[in-house]
């Protein structure tokens, strides 16, 4: 407990110093670009911790949840199908690597003509971009199933589905979780980018609109909101990961990064 307190203190002191410095240095700022932190936080409170959350935060979170959810399910299922089938692996590998390497924003112009500028376009671009890191890691994890584990499944005549659920997926879970973590970051990125380019709602749109209207404090408030959102989602992911990979951490010490 004492050790954990110490680590927490070590992690927190620098951010606190930065915030304190920002607060004092910007206190009487009249700069257009750097309004006082106090003002930014007031705008943040008024926009994102009140009724504004419904208007600006909710559309972003819905797109993120749908897009990431689709990517996670498709990525893991696809990983099992491709990873367990040598022919599918060979045939699809180059394609998967191509899309993995393609920067997601490059697909935005296509997404807009194909799906318009509504929710469908954003969900699609988030799902499509987040899919490939998840898929790639899942394929790798499934392909790496231990030969002894396979032999056990055959020796005890497990059904195909049982073997996948009880042995293949848990065995691949360290890599699947690593893929899901990268996928989450990609999804958040594409959530914002899609709102900056073509949108009428969401946090990204709010930031862009505030900038265009010279509401710089609002713009900063939006940036703070995105930063906090990223931190919260990452922390939540970490909690889920520690639970899912409890056995792995117990036997290997740490998770795959």
């Amino acid at each position: 407990m004492k050790r954990r307190t110490r680590i927490l203190a070590l992690e927190l002191w620098l951010p606190l110093v930065v915030i304190a410095a920002w607060w004092t240095l910007s206190a009487n700022s009249e700069s257009l670009y750097f309004p006082p932190l106090e003002t930014i936080l007031e705008r943040f409170r008024d926009t994102f911790l009140s009724s504004g959350a419904e208007e600006h935060l909710r559309p972003s979170l819905v797109n993120l949840a749908l897009g990431y959810g689709i990517a996670a399910i498709a990525g893991v299922l696809g990983g099992v199908l491709i990873g367990m089938n040598r022919w599918a692996s060979a045939a699809l590998d180059p394609l998967v690597h191509f899309f993995r390497a393609l920067p997601g924003p490059a697909l935005l112009p296509f997404a807009i003509i194909a799906f318009g500028i509504g929710t469908a376009m954003k969900v699609w671009i988030i799902a499509f971009t987040a899919l490939f890191p998840i898929l790639l890691n899942a394929i790798d994890g499934v392909r790496g199933t231990d030969p002894t584990a396979r032999a056990v499944a055959r020796a005890y005549r497990l059904g195909r589905l049982r073997a996948i659920i009880a042995i293949v997926l848990p065995g691949a879970s360290p890599q699947i979780m690593a893929g899901l973590r990268v996928g989450l970051q990609t999804a958040i990125l594409m959530m914002v980018v899609s709102e900056l380019v073509a949108s009428t709602s969401g946090v990204g749109f709010f930031i862009l609109q505030s900038q265009q209207q010279f509401e710089i404090a609002n713009m900063w408030a939006g940036i703070v909101a995105l930063g906090l959102l990223g931190c919260i989602l990452n922390a939540a992911f970490g909690l889920v990961e520690r639970r899912v990979l409890r056995w792995y951490i117990a036997t290997h010490g740490e998770v795959v990064r």
Partner: protein, 283 residues
């Protein structure tokens, strides 16, 4: 009526007329890996039978193809020539009444499942009611001396205890025949003796036929009724040794017996004095 095993009195197979006298029949078995120039013959030709209730060890120099033989006779690998019969039927897949204990318990037990789940896993697809499954798991863990470990994870147990869990998994499967691949190769000597005695006890109690692959000569003599000695690769049967030591056996008396020493020497010579074939020998 106990849930595990087929006979109560420890008379193997005696009360079950359906089981043929020969459980396993290895018939002209050969295995070649690859083809053409790169082909490597792992097993030249092997023939032997295992009778119901018998304890047969397979011993040979390292790299002789023991593991290949084990994979072929369990149906995990398809032989290139010949075949293996299990209870009168040709093996194509691992048979339902055969259980395998693998050498590396760290890989054959799944760290994401509790001990109980690991033991229960093979029963899940077998249309066995949940209550009976639980009961089998409990009995099997008790039989291997690990009662009450159901909710622990394998990695919370010592190596010897983990191999006991693997053994419990095999027992709960209620096999006629237990095939073990160097199961005690990675535990310390003391644990090894305990596990050897446990296998003998379980085999006596449940009347199971055992095929036991090992490279340890003392272990083979101590455990077996017969020992199949393989030649160097490509493997053939060099000799089949009858072990005429009385049962029950125990680590002190049996191993102190002069006959144990004789068999040990005989087996040692069969295994260790094999020279790799050299061209000069033909001249």
């Amino acid at each position: 009526m106990p849930l595990l095993g087929r006979s109560e009195a420890g008379t193997p197979g005696a009360d079950d007329a359906k089981v043929p006298d020969t459980v396993i029949s290895v018939d002209g078995l050969g295995k070649t890996y690859g083809a053409g120039e790169a082909a490597k013959v792992a097993i030249e030709r092997i023939d032997f039978d295992v009778s119901a209730g018998e304890f047969v060890s397979i011993v040979g120099p390292s790299g002789a193809g023991k593991t290949t033989l084990l994979k072929c006779l369990t149906g995990l690998l398809e032989p290139s020539t010949g075949r293996t019969l299990f209870e009168g039927r040709e093996i194509e897949e691992p048979p339902a009444r055969m259980a395998i204990v693998f050498q590396d318990y760290g890989r054959s037990l799944f760290p994401w499942m509790t001990v109980s789940r690991n033991v229960e896993l093979p029963l899940l697809d077998k249309r066995i009611e949940k209550r009976e499954r639980r009961e089998r798991v409990r009995e099997a863990l008790e039989a291997v001396g690990l009662p009450g470990t159901e909710q622990q994870f394998p990695w919370q147990l010592s190596g010897g205890m983990q191999q006991r869990v693997a053994l419990a998994r095999a027992l709960a499967y209620k096999p006629d025949c237990l095939v073990m691949d160097e199961p005690f190769a990675s535990v310390d000597a003391q644990t090894r003796f305990e596990l050897e005695d446990l296998v003998l006890e379980l085999r006596h109690r449940f009347g199971i036929t055992v095929v036991f692959v090992t490279h340890d000569i003392d272990e083979a003599v101590y455990l077996s009724d017969r020992i199949v000695v393989l030649t160097r690769s490509p493997a053939q049967v060099r000799a089949i040794l009858d072990v005429d030591l009385s049962r029950p056996r125990d680590q002190v008396t049996t191993k102190g017996h002069h006959r144990f020493g004789e068999l040990r020497t005989e087996l040692f010579e069969l295994v260790q004095t094999q020279r790799p074939p050299s061209p000069a020998a033909d001249a």
